[in-house]
């Protein structure tokens, strides 16, 4: 079973609440879910949608073709009817009309049923119930799940919403003569769902983050919101800064003061943080930065997705210094990699990045159980030192003892100017040289050792390999599985991007050596990762499939595009 439901309408019509209620219901039933959002940069009006894919096996991406379309306005019906599968059906308010009268639409009087249940405002709950009715799901035992989201408005409101849900359900079940779905819930237990932004926030919480400062910027704001919502529970101070420059400098101050600290933004906001990035490097102050990409240049498409900031994040910042960049492919990876970023930032006293994008940030996945023993927490700071303490002491591995000011006998001194071991401003050529070597050459080999090679999914001897990074993991996994029905296909997926991992001798390397065709897939216009891979390994990819219209890849659509690529010599 594999069903996609799209809920479309104007901003402000409650698309997101319907989507979230569906996720709650289906994850309670034990299905595997994936959802993504397509929304415009406006609070009211326009045309947005929320798409949920429900399956009895793990799914990692959205498809363009959908089985059910809930149209909350006429525009949705007009725009998306074309995406219905041959068995697909549309659900809409009785007062709206479908574009075709081919019997592919079920009209339900959402508002009048809602009034019957108690108030017109429950129309969206009626609609959600109708979707379940069309799918033929049994709804016994769902009342608590449906009511849970409304309980904060009181027991009576929750009860009336359940009534509205039931009315919609029964109406659709009775009236939908063409509904061919008869799906029983799987015998699984309840599943957890998580979005990319939430996962980064959880990764930070599990790593002991104590201070998060950021300036709101779509699509990174979810991290700020999620940490603020959990501030009291986990003892975190969250501060909305006056600008991104302040955000990163506050984070540096907090980290210097002895706590784990993080900031996050999208490309434009991170551009403002760049001088602070360089300051983190010079003062060897550990920080973690989440860069949640959206299409640029400049303001670009604020609510859309792109993998366009990769080379910017890797190479921005004046001066030469080491950094670490991770790009998780799904929420589970986001938890582990955020945790690894915190650990490496403090261990090596360097800036570490999590590169995400709108697609990963706002999409939700059913997740497997978190392997708690994979979460690393080691406190690298020292709390005892005598008055001869040297903040930037030159050591064999370049890492100096990291003391907390006020905790030790001596003073902790650091400077954005080139400095001596104590941290005081200098101009000496020989000390400058030693400090560059300490920060860069001595640390780098130790940092490199921690970087994992890319994951390889697929047969030992593939004919085709796909190469991708970051948030395209899900869609690439689904497409690879599908392609393997016809042609042995492997997927090489990078999540630990910088320093560039050593790939010689890995499974990925063997696959690359054996494949007849190597295809890069990136959500940007210039194939930034392909360029990087060639620069670092000498391996050139044969073809690139690039998407740069601000939209994510869909698995069915990418599959078609790959068919075209594979059929051309």
């Amino acid at each position: 079973m594999d069903i996609s439901i799209r809920i479309g309408g104007e901003a402000g019509q409650g698309i997101q609440s319907i989507g979230e209620l569906l996720l709650k219901i289906f994850s309670h039933m034990g299905f595997w879910l994936f959802s993504h959002q397509d929304y415009m940069s406006r609070v009211r009006g326009g045309n947005n949608f929320y798409q949920v894919r429900i399956a009895d096996r793990p799914v990692h991406s959205s498809r363009e073709k959908i089985e059910l379309l809930l149209a909350l306005n006429q525009e949705t019906a007009r725009l998306w009817e074309k995406d219905l599968t041959p068995d697909g059906l549309m659900l809409l308010e009785g007062s709206l009309s479908p574009m075709e009268t081919s019997g592919r639409a079920l009209q339900v009087p959402f508002t009048s049923l809602a009034k019957e249940a108690g108030a017109a405002i429950y129309a969206n709950t009626v609609a959600t119930g109708s979707l379940l009715g069309m799918l033929g799901f049994p709804i016994e035992g769902l009342s608590e799940v449906v009511k849970s989201g409304f309980l904060k408005k009181g027991e009576a409101v929750a009860e009336q919403n359940w009534k509205a849900f039931e009315l919609g359900y029964l109406y659709a079940k009775r009236e939908c003569l063409t509904c061919a779905f008869h799906i029983a819930p799987p015998a699984y237990s309840k599943r957890k769902i998580l979005s990319g932004n939430q996962a980064i926030a959880w990764g930070a919480i599990l790593s002991g983050v104590k201070f998060y400062s950021a300036y709101p910027m779509t699509p990174s704001t979810g991290i700020l919101n999620h940490l603020a919502a959990n501030a009291m529970r986990f003892g975190i101070v969250v501060e909305q800064a006056e600008d991104e420059i302040s955000a990163i400098n506050m984070v540096l101050g907090a980290s210097f003061g002895g706590v784990r600290a993080m900031t996050g933004s999208s490309g434009g906001g991170f551009a403002l943080m760049v001088e602070g990035l360089s300051l983190a490097a010079m003062t060897e102050t550990p920080i973690v930065i989440a860069e949640v990409q959206r299409p640029g240049p400049a303001t670009g498409l604020p609510t859309r997705t792109e993998q366009g900031d990769l080379l910017f994040v890797l190479f921005t910042g004046h001066g030469e210094f080491p950094r670490v960049c991770f790009a998780p492919g799904d929420p589970e990876q986001a938890i582990y990699l955020t945790n690894k970023a915190f650990d490496m930032a403090e261990r090596f006293q360097i800036p570490c990045f999590i590169i995400s994008d709108q697609y990963l940030a706002d999409s939700t996945w059913s997740i497997k159980e978190i392997e708690w023993d994979r979460i690393v927490y080691k406190d690298y700071r020292i709390k005892n030192a005598d008055s001869n303490y040297l903040r930037h002491k030159i050591t064999p591995d370049g890492v100096s003892p990291l003391a907390i000011p006020g905790f030790i006998e001596g003073t902790v001194v650091t400077d954005s100017d080139e400095h001596d071991e104590e941290g005081h401003i200098i101009e000496s050529a020989s000390i400058r040289k030693q400090m560059v070597e300490k920060r860069l050459y001595k640390k780098l080999p130790h940092i490199r050792k921690e970087i994992s090679p890319p994951a390889y999914y697929g047969p030992k001897v593939p004919k085709v390999v796909l190469v991708g990074w970051g948030s395209t993991l899900g869609v690439l996994l689904d497409v690879t599985e599908d392609l393997n029905k016809d042609i042995p296909t492997g997927l090489i997926h990078f999540t630990e991007l910088w320093p560039f991992p050593e790939i010689r001798g890995t499974k990925a390397w063997e696959a690359i050596e054996r494949a007849e065709l190597k295809v890069g897939v990136e959500n940007n216009a210039s194939g930034q990762f392909a360029w990087l891979m060639k620069a670092e390994t000498g391996i050139a990819l044969d073809k690139l499939i690039l998407r740069y219209d601000g939209r994510p890849f869909y698995s069915d659509q990418l599959r078609e595009e790959l068919n075209g690529t594979l059929s051309r010599p």
């Binding site: 201070f211 540096l252 706590v259 030790i408």
Partner: protein, 280 residues
């Protein structure tokens, strides 16, 4: 014997006669009078001649970027509110590059002290106009004089309802020391603007120019905001020194619920406890 030897750091690289020497002397005396040891406080600074101060003292130091001392100081104070945090900046540094941070730090009101070495000119970059330069000052970069309105930091601070606003003069070490003590002891954000002659570049606002004009306020009620605004606007024939404005506002750290359990840096982290809390 040189007094306060234990608080002195590197030998200053300032010009002979620079007002910064007197500011340094006053600061050492103030820190001594407050009984602070070098490990008890942190000086956070930006870039400029004044921002080099922490290198010339013995103290915890974060010498960051031009204009950015206040966000660093705020983050540091949130991490450990047991530390005394002093930010030092010049007029170009904090009234120019860091102007936005100054405005928002006054809004937040963290318990930190900002000492502004206000010499009404850029020293480090050799003589350009700063936001506090007077219109008649001309420079290589401003050959026709300063065309923008002079920034009045005290009036700005009163308008922002900053919780402690004062002005000192580098020509009076004892008076400056007393103001520094009051500023550091004030709970909340304290702005101490220090008039500081630049003997090399500023040929307008010299020691004698200031001496003819400055006076300490008498019988001025710093809690009277209207009077404070009038005092803040006084500039020309007479220039007032002393505490210009105070307001009773809770400080930032006291308003953050998480910090009621003690300094963040001492709150610790227990991974097992966090996992248990997630599953609760």
């Amino acid at each position: 014997m040189e007094p306060y030897q234990d608080l002195k750091g590197q030998e200053p690289a300032w010009c002979p006669g620079c007002g910064n020497f007197a500011i340094r002397e006053a600061l050492i005396k103030a820190i001594k009078a407050l009984g602070l040891a070098p490990r008890d406080f942190v000086i956070v600074s930006g870039i400029g001649q004044g921002a080099k101060m922490p290198h010339y003292l013995k103290c915890n130091t974060f010498n960051g970027l031009h204009g950015r001392s206040l966000p660093v100081a705020t983050g540091l104070k949130v991490a450990n509110h047991d530390l005394w945090v002093i930010a030092e900046a010049g007029d170009g540094d904090i009234y120019g590059e860091g102007g936005n941070h100054l405005i928002h730090t006054m809004r937040r009101n963290p318990n930190i002290t900002l000492l502004v070495h206000n010499n009404q000119i850029y020293g480090l970059t050799k003589g350009q106009a700063s936001p506090t330069s007077v219109p008649e000052l001309s420079s290589k970069t401003q050959p026709f004089g300063v065309l923008s309105e002079t920034l009045n930091p005290l009036a700005l601070a009163v308008a922002m309802n900053a919780s402690f606003v004062a002005r000192g003069f580098a020509g009076d070490v004892e008076g400056l020391k007393d103001l520094m003590i009051q500023a550091i002891q004030h709970k909340g954000f304290s702005l101490l603007d220090i008039l500081q002659p630049c003997v090399t570049f500023n040929k307008v606002n010299t020691y004698s120019w200031y001496r003819e004009r400055v006076y300490y306020t008498k019988d001025h009620d710093p809690y009277d905001r209207t009077k404070a605004f009038e005092k803040a606007l006084e500039w020309g024939e007479k220039i007032p020194l002393g505490v210009i404005y105070k307001s009773k506002r809770p400080c930032f750290e006291d308003r953050i619920p998480v910090l009621s359990k003690g300094p963040l840096v001492q709150q610790g982290f227990d991974l097992k406890g966090v996992v248990a809390e997630i599953f609760k």
